[in-house]
Each structure stands twice: as structure tokens, then as C-alpha cells.
């Protein structure tokens, strides 16, 4: 009995060691964002300062137009995710029912393709159409990220939902669309939640598309925080505060939806082979 307890304590500390790089990093990130310049330049470094520099956060929003960029991020991620759900959920359903396994290969190839190779042709296309100054180019190109995620998760989900109800509805004379809408869709709600969360996270985090396609007014948060580096005397406090603002929404989402994220990622990854 006591050896089992000892074993558990040993495992707990082993886990603590493994998690410590993550804990220390985020602690230091918070610490940097709450220190005045003088404390951030101190040697030896200070973890918890005597005075907290909440003004760093105020500065981020006042001096860098961060509210606009936050709104851009919400619009791009929100629209790209909703569009992906709109077309990806039915597609996942269709592929699962058709057993069209080759389409899964297409999605794997989409994963292998470097984002930059989409960017050159689509950049030219957007330029010709003349929509480069708007948010649309980013919304459209984010579909490259969001649609495969949604389709992938939904195929996996619909493959495990029972067919009996759908068959019964079919016999009762319901059309394919009615079967999908009234029978399959309600059962698939947990799967849709997983697809939504993963799609939001990976679209929100995307940097490479924005860095090419965004103009001054259409930057998303990751691009905005990167740009803070180039056009001002780099002061660490506000920069760390900005970095935290950018990543906080996804971290909060991760904390609250840990189970769904783990389920979605492992299912997708395992099927990916």
C-alpha cells in the first residue's frame, strides 16, 4: 500500500518535471508583460516585480490599434470557420457514407503542401480581382486550413454514428437532405464542437497568410504582434503583453475544451497514417 503511494508521488514529480518547461515559459511570459522596462532589464532577472506594470496592456491597445486587429482576427477566423462548417460538415457526412476513402488522401496531401505554395497563385488572383485591400483574401485562404480540419474530424465522427435511425427515416420517405438535417446532424453535435474548436485555434494562430496578404488596416493579431517588432523601439513589457493578448483566447479555449481537443487531435492523427 505504501509502496503504491510512493510510486504515485514519484510519477507526480516526474510529470511535474515534464510539464515544467511549459509552466516556466508561461510564467515568464506573464512576468515580462507585467514589468516596467527597468525591471525587465534587471540582472539578475526578477520574476515577481514590486510594482506591476498594468500600463503595458493599456499601451498595447492605445498605441497599436490592437482593437482593430482583434476585430480583424475575429472576422477572419469566425467567417473562415463558419464557412468551413457550412461546407465541411455535409462533406464529411457524404464522404463517410460513400466510404470515399480516397478523399482522405486528398486531405493528407493538403496537409503536406506548404502554405506558401498556395500563397503565390492566390496572391496574384486576389490582385487581379482587386480585393487585396479587404479581409476577403485572408478569409478565403484560411479555408485551406479550416476546411480540411472540419472534413477530417467530421468523417471520423459520422463513421461512428449509427445508421439505423437514418435508414428508418429513409424508409419513412424522408429525403437525403431531411435525413441529414433532422437525424444525422443532431447526433453529430459533439463532433461539430470539436471541429469548430480545432478550426478556430488553427485559423487564429495562422501567421504566414496574413504576413503576405494583410495591409495596414487588415492585419490579424499574429501579424500585428510581429509588426510591433519592426516599427518601434522594442520595449519588452508591451511586446510580451501583446503576445499574451494574442494567444490568450486560444489558451483559455484549450483549458476549457481540453477533452474535446485531445479527442479530435488524436482521432485525426491516428487516422492520418
Amino acid at each position: 500500500m505504501s509502496s503504491r503511494l510512493l510510486n504515485q508521488i514519484g510519477l507526480f514529480f516526474a510529470a511535474l518535471v515534464v510539464v515544467s518547461p511549459a509552466i516556466l515559459f508561461f510564467l515568464w511570459m506573464i512576468s515580462l508583460s507585467l514589468k516596467f522596462e527597468i525591471d525587465n532589464g534587471a540582472y539578475p532577472p526578477i520574476l515577481i516585480p514590486e510594482r506591476f506594470a498594468w500600463s503595458n496592456y493599456v499601451k498595447v491597445f492605445e498605441e497599436n490599434n490592437f482593437l482593430l486587429y482583434l476585430w480583424n482576427s475575429v472576422l477572419v477566423t469566425g467567417t473562415a470557420t463558419l464557412l468551413a462548417l457550412l461546407i465541411g460538415v455535409p462533406a464529411g457526412y457524404g464522404i463517410a457514407r460513400l466510404k470515399a476513402e480516397r478523399s482522405a488522401v486528398v486531405i493528407m496531401i493538403a496537409r503536406m503542401t506548404p502554405g506558401l505554395s498556395y500563397l503565390i497563385p492566390l496572391f496574384l488572383l486576389f490582385q487581379w480581382i482587386g480585393i487585396l485591400g479587404t479581409l476577403w483574401p485572408q478569409i478565403i485562404i484560411h479555408l485551406v486550413v479550416t476546411v480540411p480540419i472540419v472534413v477530417w474530424v467530421m468523417i471520423g465522427y459520422f463513421e461512428t454514428t449509427p445508421m439505423e435511425l437514418e435508414e428508418a427515416a429513409n424508409i419513412d420517405g424522408a429525403s437525403s437532405w431531411q435525413v441529414f438535417r433532422l437525424v444525422a446532424l443532431p447526433i453529430a453535435k459533439p463532433g461539430i464542437v470539436v471541429a469548430f474548436i480545432l478550426s478556430v485555434i488553427f485559423s487564429w494562430n495562422n501567421f504566414v497568410f496574413g504576413v503576405v496578404l494583410a495591409s495596414r488596416e487588415t492585419r490579424t493579431l499574429p501579424v500585428a504582434v510581429y509588426n510591433m517588432l519592426s516599427y518601434e523601439q522594442v520595449s519588452w513589457g508591451p511586446l510580451a503583453a501583446a503576445a499574451l493578448v494574442v494567444t490568450l483566447p486560444v489558451l483559455v479555449l484549450t483549458m476549457f475544451a481540453q477533452k474535446q481537443i485531445v479527442a479530435g487531435l488524436t482521432a485525426g492523427a491516428v487516422k492520418g497514417g
Partner: protein, 333 residues
């Protein structure tokens, strides 16, 4: 779980009926409908699932297939943005073959990739073995462990840049505590790739951990009990029981990690932009610079094509290895 099993069998049989010829289905439809009205429950109408897939097909071909076709076409053209375009045949590809900067970037890419596959694989497997066991606060710690891979890469990269700072960075201070001299990390051509790999490892070890943890969950208990009775120690149990059983999952993690490491962009671009000099310039970064700093989109497209071939080739080799190892296993029995 067992409650779902019979339903799944039902689903499979149901699907077998769906895979009838589509034209036949259309022809039969009126007849089937008549029969359905007559109350004959035995005839099932195969629903048409294609309309569900079509919108996604349209979008995928617009956003994925079109760019590929266009990239191929651009790659055989001499084309710098703002200048006139002319057909170049294989010129861009030949230029790549004799471009020392491209070969250098290929070496950087392969170094960066092998390191950022090996380290997360090793650490991720160890972490998975720990998290597979039961101990207090396991769920919470696992949640924190997963956070780095969800954090925005650019934001993470900026904070790491501050931590790598040679004078004010916290890392050199930590090194000084254990008596190691200060390093220049990403600001020195010799240490820049290992430093970037450290960040990549920090961020992506959790993905390997999750995949391997999924594998460990599927490992049956019984063989370990009999091994225990036979007197096998913990290492032997791991080496001869656990490892072979989770091998397919390790292979999947390896393939995914390889693809992602080859494609890595955000961390490298945000921290060094390929510098100092070109010391950390991978193919992806060189490709970005060619297309969007020099606007040489013809040459950049050729690079994109070659880069994609490299990724597919490496993934294919890994998949072949996986198949061969499975084949060998079967042979061994």
C-alpha cells in the same frame, strides 16, 4: 463502448447497400417509391450522398487544386512581378540545381527537420509513458502540457527571442547558475539551428505525446501480467512488449512530425528571418524571400514544386518503412 459495437456492424451492412450503381438507383427510384407507398418495407432506397460533397469539392478545387495548377505553370515562366512574363521551359529548375543558396537551404531544412523530429519523438514518448499511469492531478498537468502546441507560434517565438537575449535573457542567467558560460543562441550562426529546434521541440512535443498516449491506451493488460510472472523487469517489458505494440503510433507521430518540421515557417521567420546571414534559412524561408521579397514568382514557384516533391518523397519513404516493418513482423511470426 460495447454498446456501440453492434450498432457499428449495423452501419457497415447499411453502407454496403448504398454502394450500388448510381444510375441503377435512379432508374429504380420511381419503382421503389411506388413500392414504398404500397407499404413494402423490404426495399430500401439508396440515398444520394454526392450533393453533400459537391460544395466542398468546389471549394477545395478553387483553393487547393487551382493554385497547384497555376504554380506548375508559373514555374516554367520567367516572371518577376511588375515585369513582363516569358516562357522559360525548365530554366528555373536548372537554375535551382546550380543555386548554392538553395542547396544550403536544403541542408538547413534537413538538419532542422531531423533534430526537430528526434527530440520531440523521444521526449513525447517519455511524457506519454508518464501520463499513461495514474497519479494525482494527472488531468490538470496533462492540460498544461498540451498548452504549448495550442499557443500562437508567433507570440511564442517573440517571447523566446527575449529569453534568448545574450545580455538580458533569462536563459543565460539560468545557465550561469549552473556554471555554463553565456551563449549567443539565435544570434550566432553555429547555435541558431539548435536554438530554433529547442523552441520547435518545446511547442510540438505535446502532439507526439498525445498520439503515443492514444497508442498506449489501446495496449492490452494481459501480456504484462504474464511477463511479470515470468520475471521480466520494467525495461524488458517496455522493450519487448510496449514498444512493438505502440510502434504503429510512433510511426504516425514520426510522419506527421516530419511533415510539420519540414514546413516550419512561423517560428523561424519570427525569430531570425533565416539569419544571422542565411545560417537558418530553410527552403520555406528562402521560398518566401524569393517570392515576396524579390517578387521572383517564376523561380519561387519552381522552388515550391521541388519543395513539395521533397516533402512527398520523405513522407513516402517513411510510409514504405512502416509497411516493410509490418511485413517483417508478419514474417517473424
Amino acid at each position: 463502448m460495447s454498446a456501440i459495437a453492434p450498432e457499428r456492424t449495423g452501419a457497415t451492412t447499411g453502407r454496403a447497400e448504398v454502394t450500388t450503381d448510381r444510375t441503377e438507383v435512379t432508374a429504380d427510384r420511381t419503382e421503389a417509391a411506388t413500392q414504398a407507398i404500397e407499404g413494402s418495407q423490404s426495399i430500401r432506397l439508396a440515398p444520394n450522398y454526392w450533393p453533400f460533397v459537391v460544395p466542398a469539392l468546389v471549394v477545395v478545387s478553387a483553393v487547393i487544386v487551382f493554385p497547384w495548377a497555376f504554380t506548375l505553370w508559373m514555374s516554367v515562366n520567367r516572371w518577376t512581378l511588375g515585369q513582363s512574363r516569358s516562357f522559360a521551359g525548365m530554366e528555373n529548375y536548372l537554375r535551382l540545381a546550380s543555386d548554392p543558396r538553395f542547396w544550403e537551404s536544403l541542408v538547413h531544412t534537413l538538419t532542422y527537420t531531423s533534430l526537430s523530429v528526434a527530440a520531440p519523438m523521444l521526449l513525447g514518448t517519455v511524457a506519454a509513458l508518464i501520463f499513461d499511469a495514474r497519479f494525482p492531478l494527472r488531468g490538470l498537468l496533462r492540460g498544461v502540457f498540451v498548452m504549448p502546441m495550442m499557443a500562437t507560434p508567433v507570440a511564442v517565438a517573440l517571447v523566446w527571442t527575449m529569453m534568448f537575449h545574450p545580455q538580458l535573457g533569462v536563459l543565460n542567467y539560468l545557465l550561469s547558475l549552473v556554471g555554463i558560460p553565456a551563449q549567443e543562441w539565435i544570434f550566432n550562426a553555429n547555435t541558431v539551428i539548435p536554438s530554433l529546434v529547442a523552441v520547435e521541440t518545446w511547442q510540438w512535443t505535446p502532439l507526439v505525446m498525445l498520439i503515443v498516449l492514444g497508442g498506449l491506451a489501446s495496449v492490452p493488460r494481459e501480456p504484462f501480467e504474464s511477463a511479470e510472472i515470468d520475471g521480466a523487469n520494467a525495461w524488458q517489458q517496455f522493450r519487448y512488449l510496449t514498444l512493438p505494440m505502440i510502434a504503429p503510433f510512433l510511426m504516425i507521430a514520426l510522419i506527421i512530425r516530419t511533415i510539420d518540421a519540414l514546413k516550419s515557417f512561423d517560428i523561424i521567420y519570427a525569430m531570425t528571418q533565416g539569419g544571422p546571414g542565411t545560417a537558418s534559412e530553410t527552403i520555406n524561408i528562402y521560398l518566401y524571400n524569393t517570392a515576396f521579397s524579390y517578387y521572383d514568382i517564376g523561380y519561387g514557384s519552381a522552388m515550391a514544386v521541388v519543395f513539395f516533391i521533397v516533402i512527398v518523397a520523405l513522407s513516402f519513404i517513411l510510409l514504405m518503412l512502416r509497411q516493410r516493418s509490418q511485413w517483417n513482423d508478419a514474417e517473424g511470426k
